[in-house]
């Protein structure tokens, strides 16, 4: 895979594979360490097991709820809400960010609106959105959209404005069209910024999913966590939280893959 995109003399294929193994190895060490300390401190009675649960109990309920199938609808619904809202944020946010970066008048037109929108805490909008869109998927998708959208717009237009003048000058010097300059200069130099926007946006979108589901839902991981916590089933509440963590990890890896596909031209930092 790696060899198709970049063959840096500094990081030959063998080393790239080594690095990937290393990443996984140290990642697992970190995970195992936390789990061991958690379990040990609980068993030593350093805190109430009913408040934090135990890794072993969480594992037990995790196996239970996945084998009897009761967790799947929650995961599926949350994933749908996230996917729908996040996709909408991409489809609207990236073109809008590009337009703001390129056209001064678009910038002036939407600047105030965006700043206002950004200053409004999304949680404050949730009751209103539920009123408008109901208790179902649509309302949650809208909340996810609003949570992710702003980060994507801002990073995208910042990226456009960071385009090197020298690079734009080259296209002009050789008589290339503005459209070519957009494709061959603006887009590639903005891409790292867009990817940062995806990262930040995805994090906020997950927060959006949880907040909306905790506040009002009868299905979804946020609802699952809130419900179990109410019944003092901390093992299941923790399981829900861990599932969110895994979800975030999964999305992060997805964005990493996109990044690697498009940014073979950038040297690895370590």
């Amino acid at each position: 895979m790696a060899s198709r995109f970049a063959l840096p003399s500094l990081t030959p294929v063998a080393r790239v594979r080594g690095v990937m193994g290393e990443r996984l190895f140290y990642g697992l060490i970190g995970l195992v360490a936390v789990v061991v300390v958690w379990e040990a401190t609980a068993r030593m009675g350093l805190y109430k097991q009913s408040l934090m649960s135990l890794p072993s109990s969480i594992l037990r309920v995790a196996i239970e709820d996945t084998t009897n199938g009761s967790i799947w609808p929650h995961i599926w619904v949350s994933a749908q809400e996230f996917a729908l809202g996040f996709a909408a944020a991409l489809v609207v946010g990236i073109p809008l960010g590009l337009a703001i970066g390129i056209f001064r008048r678009v910038d002036y037109t939407v600047n105030g609106l965006l700043a206002g929108l950004n200053a409004t805490p999304n949680v404050a909008l949730i009751p209103l959105i539920i009123l408008m869109f109901g208790l179902g998927l649509e309302a949650k998708a809208v909340i996810v959209f609003l949570s992710a959208f702003f980060a994507i717009v801002v990073t995208t237009f910042t990226g456009v404005q960071a385009t090197a003048r020298r690079h734009l000058e080259i296209t002009r010097s050789f008589g290339g069209s503005p459209w070519l300059a957009f494709r061959s200069v603006v887009l590639p130099s903005t891409l790292p910024f867009i990817i940062s926007g995806l990262r930040i946006g995805a994090g906020r979108a997950l927060v959006g999913v949880v907040s909306a589901e905790i506040l009002s839902a009868n299905v979804g991981l946020g609802h699952y966590i809130a419900l179990k916590a109410q019944f003092l089933d901390t093992a299941r509440a923790m399981f829900g939280i861990i599932l969110f963590g895994l979800f975030g990890l999964f999305i992060g890896e997805g964005i990493r893959a996109v990044e690697r596909r498009f940014e073979a031209w950038r040297p690895e930092l370590h």
Partner: protein, 270 residues
């Protein structure tokens, strides 16, 4: 107005004014960057524009290239049947970091509307000519400064323009690499049979490379001397240690010394 067939470039009365942006329209000072510049460059000649910082030599090059428009005066370039009349070799950071060497070299052709695949094919001989064979798939960050400037040169050569405009292409290189690149440039110039207009502030570079050194002064930017360099060709780097060479250097230094000192103290002030 027509110009003689044997000329690649003919400039008459070129004047460039910049308005000082700090003042408002009425009180803003006008800076005369170029005043009445007349210059003829014969077909196949290697002509250098030499002068201290701020003498307008790079501005003149940009006017010829069409990146900026002169306030007054006329520029005529030798018409060619197809493609561009002129091609620019930029000073630094002039390759797209997201493109491989081949795509960078092919870019001028892509700007001219050549399909990417064909442009890449047509770029290949120029990659060979500048000595980058084997580095086609490398990205700029994987190349040394000298190699980057070879690619920069190949991109300008590949569009097969009648005149090459070179804007201090070796200024960012270390002294040894610069010497090597000067010799390389003469080899390539000899092989490609191009007209070159070369901007530099380095006296030895101008004398070594050129048939003619056009000396400029600042405030306002203007031509103060046009010196024919009668050193035999082909020239090797050893020529720099000959009596004749040193005399040329002396002659030019005496022409610009006062200006260089003024420029240096001004820069120290502000």
């Amino acid at each position: 107005m027509t110009m003689p067939q044997h000329l690649a470039l003919s400039a008459r009365g070129v004047r460039m004014e910049f308005r000082n942006r700090t003042g408002n329209e009425s009180s803003g000072q006008t800076l005369v960057a170029l005043e009445d510049v007349d210059l003829d460059v014969p077909d196949g000649a290697f002509v250098s524009l030499l002068g201290p910082s701020g003498c307008g030599k790079s501005t003149f090059l940009k006017i010829v290239n069409g990146l900026i428009r002169q306030t007054a005066g006329e520029i005529q370039l030798h018409r060619v049947a197809k493609g561009r009349e002129d091609a620019m070799v930029f000073q630094d950071a002039a390759l797209f970091p997201w493109y491989s060497v081949t795509d960078n070299v092919a870019y001028g052709l892509v700007c001219a509307g050549v399909p990417r695949k064909e442009a890449r094919k047509r770029a290949q001989p120029y990659i060979e000519l500048v000595g980058l064979t084997g580095f086609e798939d490398r990205y700029p960050y994987q190349l040394s400064g000298g190699m980057q400037q070879r690619a920069n040169l190949a991109r300008a050569l590949a569009v097969d323009a009648a005149i090459l405009l070179m804007d201090e292409p070796f200024a960012a290189l270390d002294a040894q690499t610069r010497e090597l690149m000067q010799a390389e440039l003469l080899r390539i110039w000899n092989a490609a049979r191009k007209t070159v207009l070369f901007v530099t502030h380095q006296i030895d570079e101008a004398v070594f490379l050129s048939d003619r050194v056009v000396v400029m002064a600042r405030r306002p930017g203007r031509i103060i001397a046009d010196i024919t360099i009668e050193l035999p060709r082909p020239r090797a780097l050893e020529v720099k240690r000959t009596q004749r060479f040193v005399e040329y250097e002396d002659q030019i230094w005496r022409l610009i010394a006062g200006d260089v000192r003024n420029a240096a103290t001004e820069n120290a002030d502000g």
